[in-house]
């Protein structure tokens, strides 16, 4: 009886000490606070340009797409995509594409307007993305991630 009680209390003690030791490594309150939403002014972004803003330590690409780029993104057959998604599922307004600028392979920053599909090209291990930020070729498994965002007015965008 005493052995079992000792063992039970010991197990609780180990568990309750282990959890804080593990959990302290997760993002702390100040890091989470610094990850609050940010605002982007769209009026300054010319058609065809990609603007990079920093949010949560990562680059966010805000791309003002040209009609040609929009058409290319919409015309793709879903069957050709490793991670099938229509362009409409990835944008709120066709002229604005907002994606997290982190290659879904191992986290490098892809270069805009480059690669076979003229979306992005990742120099690290050669992943190519299209003008909808979808993976088309190379080792990356998924499309560039779309963060949560909202248009607060015609010229203002909030990310986060």
């Amino acid at each position: 009886m005493l052995f079992i009680a000792t063992g039970a209390v010991g197990a609780v003690a180990v568990g309750s000490v282990a959890w804080p030791l593990i959990s302290q490594m997760n993002p702390d309150a100040s890091t989470i606070a610094a990850g609050a939403p940010i605002e982007v002014d769209l009026s300054a972004i010319a058609e065809g340009a990609i603007v990079t803003v920093k949010w949560r330590g990562k680059p966010i690409f805000v791309r003002h797409r040209t009609p040609k780029e929009i058409k290319e993104a919409q015309d793709v057959q879903l069957a050709q995509l490793p991670d099938p998604q229509t362009d409409a599922q990835r944008v709120k307004k066709p002229e604005w594409l907002v994606v997290i600028g982190v290659c879904t392979h191992l986290g490098c920053i892809p270069l805009g307007h480059q690669g076979e599909y003229e979306g992005w090209f990742c120099p690290c291990h050669g992943s190519a993305y299209d003008t909808s930020g979808r993976i088309r070729k190379g080792p990356a498994p998924k499309n560039l991630e779309v963060p949560s965002y909202a248009f607060t007015s015609d010229t203002k965008l909030t990310i986060g």
């Binding site: 490594m25 702390d28 890091t31 920093k54 990562k58 191992l106 986290g107 920053i109 120099p123 291990h125």
Partner: protein, 413 residues
């Protein structure tokens, strides 16, 4: 520990102390009277060299910490300060940076020695696995150390390697966030890597103690791969024989080491690491340090993210299973004519993968990496188990003494 422990201190004070803490007797039986096979060659000196390199890294590391600041805003500058302003700072830093490379040179030679002479076979399985654990700890330490100067390669190397864990299904993203302590590699990541980079070498030191303990229980293997049968005929005492031979090899190795420090201190590094980390721009080519390149090539050879990560880790973990994958009764490659050929092909494939790991991941390079990666695994998983069944080994000498005496006779004839 094995070996005769007949040590009796000469002084009265020594005897008084010895009867309270018999540490001198332990040292004497482990490093003075300890019987070493009389046929050991210079490939057996790298264990001692590794021990010295570990000390070099710990000493230079502790001194560097006196001047280094683990913060994203100051880390890079504090390194420049060490290089320019701290007395002898350049020497300390170059010694530590090149010391890591020399440590890996020595460990690769040490491991290939084991692979060639069958040192992983019974009864040395635990000894071997402890070695693989040391190797893994060394890789982790080297990786985290490279992050500390907070240059471009530090940052992007850390990003790519921590992202390897995001390949794990379901929990991958949570694990990477937990490793980072944020949403990307940032100040919390640098802080924890610094803490662990300080800790791990001491853990290595602890495992080295176990490694040497296990070695002294089962005894050393030797180039002929036959066990010691008669201590008087087959062995010589550690001191002076092994001590002097190890000492000579160590000095040669130190000269080699010094050449790197004084003549080409930056050759093994990457120029981009003298540019401060920029989270918004990835360098055109991310290349890890040379000692990870074969594994990096295997990672990139597999056209799937999870598959690449699994292959990369398997390439290291497969080493743990060697004692059971190799079915041959004969230890040393000296008496295994076919194994010898496959062994050298393996060395060539590992070096080839190292070369490919530094090349861009495209076209012919990827194809070549695939072929070599297939051979790398086939060597362990197919060649080793089958060769034991099909190979006809040369006759093995009856004892170490026979092997030594026979070869001196034939040399004279």
């Amino acid at each position: 520990m094995s070996g005769p422990s007949t040590y009796v201190p000469k002084s009265a004070l020594g005897r008084w102390f010895e009867s309270r803490l018999p540490i001198m007797g332990l040292i004497h039986s482990s490093f003075v009277a300890y019987p070493t096979p009389r046929n050991l060659n210079y490939w057996w000196t790298f264990g001692g060299i590794l021990s010295v390199m570990l000390m070099v890294q710990i000493i230079t590391g502790i001194v560097l910490v006196m001047h280094y600041t683990p913060h994203v805003d100051y880390a890079f500058n504090s390194i420049e300060l060490i290089m320019r302003d701290v007395n002898w700072g350049w020497l300390l830093r170059y010694t530590h940076a090149n010391g890591a490379s020399m440590f890996f040179v020595a460990v690769y030679i040490h491991m290939l020695r084991g692979l060639y002479y069958g040192s992983y076979k019974a009864p040395r399985e635990v000894l071997w696995i402890l070695g693989v654990i040391i190797y893994l700890l060394m890789m982790a330490t080297g990786f985290m150390g490279y992050v500390l100067p907070w240059g471009q390669m530090s940052f992007w190397g850390a990003t790519v390697i921590t992202n390897l864990f995001s390949a794990i299904p379901l929990v991958g993203e949570a694990i990477t966030t937990w490793l980072w302590g944020g949403y990307s590699v940032d100040n919390p990541t640098l802080n924890r890597f610094f803490s662990l980079h300080y800790l791990l070498p001491f853990m290595i030191a602890g495992v080295v103690v176990l490694h040497v303990w296990a070695l002294h229980v089962v005894g050393q293997n030797n180039p002929d791969g036959v066990e010691v049968k008669n201590v008087a005929r087959d062995t010589v005492p550690f001191t002076p024989y092994a001590t002097l031979k190890d000492g000579f090899a160590m000095m040669c190795f130190m000269l080699f080491f010094a050449w790197w420090i004084f003549y080409v201190p930056n050759y093994l590094g990457h120029a981009d690491n003298y540019i401060e980390a920029n989270p918004l721009a990835t360098p055109a080519h991310i290349v890890p340090e040379w000692y990870y390149l074969p594994f990096y090539a295997i990672l990139r050879a597999v056209p799937s993210k999870l598959g690449g990560v699994v292959a990369m880790f398997s390439a290291i973990l497969v080493l743990c299973f060697l004692p059971w994958l190799d079915t041959s009764k004969v230890r040393s490659a000296k008496y295994r004519p076919v194994y010898k050929v496959f062994f050298w092909l393996f060395v060539a494939s590992a070096v080839g993968l190292g070369y490919l790991g530094a090349m861009p991941a495209e076209g012919g390079y990827v194809l070549a990496s695939r072929l070599l990666a297939v051979y790398y695994f086939a060597f362990f998983l197919i060649v080793m188990p089958l060769l034991g069944l099909f190979e006809t080994p040369h006759p093995v000498p009856a004892s170490i003494a026979d092997a030594v005496l026979k070869s001196t006779h034939s040399a004279k004839a």
